[in-house]
Every structure is written in C-alpha cells, then in structure tokens.
C-alpha cells in the first residue's frame, strides 16, 4: 500500500514536469498547464503525508 501511495505521489510530481514541458513546447495552453500543476500539487500534498507517516 505504501509503495502504491509513493508511486502516486511521484507520479503527481512527474505530471507537473510533463505538463510544463508540454507547455514549453506549445503543445498545451498556459491555462491548461496551470490546471495540471494545481492538480499535481493537490495530489502530492494529500498523498505524501500518508506514506511518509507510515514509513516513520
């Protein structure tokens, strides 16, 4: 379970990066990019504390 949560967390960070790279390449609009960044941020801050606490 912890590994799955960790995978989701880092996938969210990857989403942020992919979205920004696509925006830089003109594949998505800046507004869409901002929405993806917000979504990835929310997932990171919701999921990461759970597996971090379990690990500790």
């Amino acid at each position: 379970m912890s590994n799955l949560l960790r995978f989701i967390s880092f996938s969210a960070l990857a989403l942020l990066l992919v979205s920004a790279v696509l925006c830089a390449g003109g594949r998505i609009l800046p507004d869409t990019n901002r929405s993806f960044i917000l979504a990835g941020t929310i997932v990171w801050f919701v999921v990461t504390p759970i597996w971090l606490r379990k690990n500790k």
């Binding site: 830089a24 901002r34 941020t41």
Partner: protein
C-alpha cells in the same frame, strides 16, 4: 537544557529533521561509527539551498543589469568555487576534528567569544527571518489585491501591506515559539515539490518569453531576460559580481565554517562535494528560473520593475505558484526565527526561550515591513556573510598555521582563559579593514569577502604571536 546545549541547538536545529543527530556530541568529537554517507549530505544540501530568497535573487540579477553570459557562466564558475570552498576548506577541518563551530571557537577564543558570536548571529537571523516573512507575505498580495512596492521603495507603501506582513509574521513567530517540529515535518513533505516547482517555473515561462525552440533560447536570454540594463538605483552587475555573489553568498557556511557542525558527520572530506546539489539546484536552476518569472512580468508591463515574489510566481504557475511562495518562506522563516531566539537566549540563559523568540520575531517582522530591505537583498546577503566570515579564517589559521609558527592550537582551552583576545580583535579589525576598503577605496561589498577573510587570518596569527604566553608544563603535557 544547558547553555552549551542551547548554543549547539542554535547551529543544528535546521538539520535535525534531515537525519543528522546533530544535538549530540556537542563537547566531544563525533565517533566514526556515527558518521554518515554521501547520500545524506546530498539530500541535506539540496533541501537547504532551495529557499524563499531564491525568488528574490534571480529577479534582482535581472534588475541589476547582468548579461545572460554573466549569469549563465558566472553562476557556474561561482558555484564551482563555493563547492570547492566547502570541499577543501570546511570539510577537511570538520572531518579531522569532528567538532562543531561553536566548540572549536570556544577552544580557540574562550567561552566569551561564543556570546559575541551568538549576539551577531541572532541579529542576522532576525534580518534573514524578515526577508522570509516578506517573501511569504507577498503570496497574499495576490488574493488581497495589494499594490506591490516599487523596486526603489524603502518604506511600506500602504496599510494593507503592513497588515498582511504583520499577520503572516505573527503566525510564523507563534509557530517558531512553539518549536519547529511540526513545520520541520511539513518542510520534509514540501521540499521535493518545491524543487520541482522551480524547474516548472522555467519551462512554463518559456512560451511567454517567446522561446519557440532550443536555438531561440540564447536570443531571448540576451534580449528579453538579461538585457544588461540596470533598473533605477541598482548597482550594475558584471560577470565578476555574479561569480563573487555565487561564491560568497553562503560564505558564513563555507569559509565562515558554519557547516563544520554538519560535516563533522562526514566519513570523508570529499563529501564536501555534496554541496554541489544545493548550489546547482538552488543557486543555479532556481535563480535562473526565478529570473524568467521576472522577465515575464517585464514582458507584460515594462514599467513594472517591482521584485515581489508572490505576483511573479502567480503569473506563471497560478495558485500553485502562490502556494510555493507562501511555503518556501514559511518553511525557512520558522527555523531561522527559532534559531534567532535560541541565539539570544544563549547570551543570558535565564531569559524565557518563548519570550525571546517573540522578541526576535517582532524584530524580524519590523524588517519584513520594509520592502527596501528585500529590494537590496543582494547586498544584505553579502553583509550577513561578511560579519560572520572572520571567525572562519580564525578557525582555518588555528587548524593549519598556528603550530607551523610555533604557537599553540586551541590556546584558550589549554591556557584556561575565559577570553583570548586575538580572535576577538581579528574579528573586529578585519571588519574594520572591510569598512575602510568600502569607504575609501570604493570596493563594493561583493568583493570584500576575500580581503576580509585573509585579513582576519593574518591579524589572528600576528596577534597570537605577540599575545600567546608559554603554557605551564602541565598544560604542555596535556597538549
């Protein structure tokens, strides 16, 4: 908690959550069995050097009229020199003695010097805490629609700004007074996200700057981002300004030996190279991408030269940008204000730690209310290091040179002195040399570090030669 323990906590509080048991072995060398591997140091540096003030420094390089070559190449060179300083100056002494900066200073100059060092450090941490509070408060300028101060403004521009800064400051100071455990845990969660966000700033800003291809980047970098034209009232930055700023921006920690407390846990001195993680992530990528945010602002409105991190990040990354600015300031302000409180309390242990933290926090809030302080942050960062750096030269001279000229290492400890004057006088006189060079020779603060450091070492050795008296036979045997 004894006075000594408090002094150690001052230096070490920020690192505790990084897995370093740094509040142990305050008065003895760290045993070999407790040393740590390279990975621990890479993580620590990468986390510590991606902070709120990167959002000020990157834009201020642009406002200072630095060219693209100066920034992109100058930062590579300057950061390399900083990493070299950690690797060849700080880490070898730390690994050899395995003692904290505080304990080494006490052995060299006696317990009294620690009180002076704490007073200076506490005051400087208040100033730094003020900068972090200001950066965080600017995140709230966006939702509350508060007018941003101009780059030439010194005093607060409107009541709303003061209220927001005070409110943010009160929350931060209250949490610092309660202790830093909660926010340190939260900082651990936020740290990887913050590092990624700085990279995202760079990519997300490129389309707005008109970069369509990799080859077009250099043209945009020269003509849109770093145009080489300084803003009103700013010092024009050259290649050498950038090199020296990148090298000496953290001088209190490398040539000032502040990171002895960290590297005493290193198995090998070459772990100093781990500082490259912090330098090239925080002081290269983050400074460059923060500059992109400022360039986007200038692209939209060339008249708006204000350096205000909240609106800058919000334009490119929306709500997530605002959150980054708020958290970057919060997670760094909290340990700094906490440390400032401990530093002041260590001067007089009877004072309540909570109340001293409130006083330190109040001072930080006053600093935060003056945007001119953050608008001149490049100079402020240099002054911070300049004031503490002479003690690093004293430690270096005591470690490598004192015995070579027939003197005694750790003299105050061996002679049982409460105050040994050469290090104190070296500190004061080297700062005086810096002031004289600045005032009469017109040498800017960015170039004073090396002469100041050398002056401190030379003055310490010369005065030791004059003032050291032969130890009694029992003391010599102990040595």
């Amino acid at each position: 908690m004894s006075e000594v323990e408090k002094q150690e906590a001052v230096t070490n509080s920020a690192s505790e959550d990084s897995g370093f048991a740094v509040n142990e072995y305050e008065r003895e060398p760290v045993p070999e069995t407790k040393t740590k591997g390279l990975k621990s140091f890479v993580g620590l540096f990468a986390g510590e050097h991606v902070a709120a003030t990167e959002l000020l420094i990157g834009p201020l390089f642009v406002a200072a009229g630095a060219s693209a070559f100066s920034v992109l190449v100058g930062l590579l060179v300057g950061n390399f020199l900083a990493v070299t300083s950690w690797t060849f100056l700080t880490a070898p002494i730390a690994v050899k003695n395995r003692l904290t900066l505080y304990y080494q200073l006490e052995k060299i100059g006696g317990p009294a010097i620690i009180k002076i060092y704490n007073a200076a450090n506490g005051f400087l941490w208040c100033c730094l805490g003020g900068a972090f509070i200001y950066v965080s408060a600017t995140a709230l300028f966006v939702p509350f629609n508060i007018p941003t101060p101009a780059i030439t403004d010194w005093a607060p521009k409107n009541a709303g700004m003061v209220v927001v800064i005070a409110a943010v400051g009160v929350v931060f100071v209250y949490m610092a007074a309660k202790g830093y455990d909660t926010i340190a845990h939260f900082a651990n969660i936020a740290s990887p996200w913050m590092a990624v966000m700085f990279i995202i700033f760079g990519f997300s800003a490129l389309p707005e700057l008109g970069v369509k291809s990799f080859s077009g980047f250099w043209h945009v970098a020269n003509n849109v981002v770093w145009t080489g034209v300084p803003a009103a009232g700013a010092i024009k930055f050259t290649f050498w300004h950038i090199v020296c700023f990148a090298w000496f921006g953290n001088m209190a920690w490398h040539i000032g030996m502040g990171d002895l407390s960290i590297f005493r846990y290193a198995r090998k001195a070459r772990y100093g190279l781990a500082s490259a993680a912090g330098m090239y992530l925080g002081h290269y990528i983050a400074w460059i991408t923060a500059a992109f945010l400022y360039a986007v602002q200038l692209q939209r409105n060339p008249a708006d030269t204000s350096v205000v991190p909240g609106p800058l990040a919000s334009r490119v990354a929306g709500y997530s940008g605002i959150l980054l600015v708020l958290l970057a300031g919060w997670t760094t302000a909290n340990p700094v204000i906490y440390r400032a409180g401990l530093a002041f309390q260590a001067i007089r242990p009877k004072w309540s730690r909570v109340w001293v933290t409130f006083v330190a926090g109040a001072l930080a809030c006053v600093v935060a209310a003056f945007p001119g302080f953050c608008n001149r942050f490049l100079s402020v960062a240099m002054l911070y290091g300049l004031i503490l750096m002479p003690m690093g030269a004293v430690i270096f001279a005591d470690h490598y040179l004192v015995r070579k000229i027939g003197l005694v290492k750790f003299y105050a400890e061996k002679a049982g002195k409460h105050v040994y004057w050469p290090p104190v006088l070296a500190w004061v006189c080297s700062l005086l040399v810096c002031v004289l060079l600045w005032y009469f020779a017109g040498i800017q603060e960015f170039f004073l570090c090396l002469p100041g450091w050398l002056a401190s070492g030379v003055i310490y050795l010369a005065l030791s030669k004059i003032m050291q008296k032969p130890l009694k036979s029992k003391q010599v045997i102990n040595e």
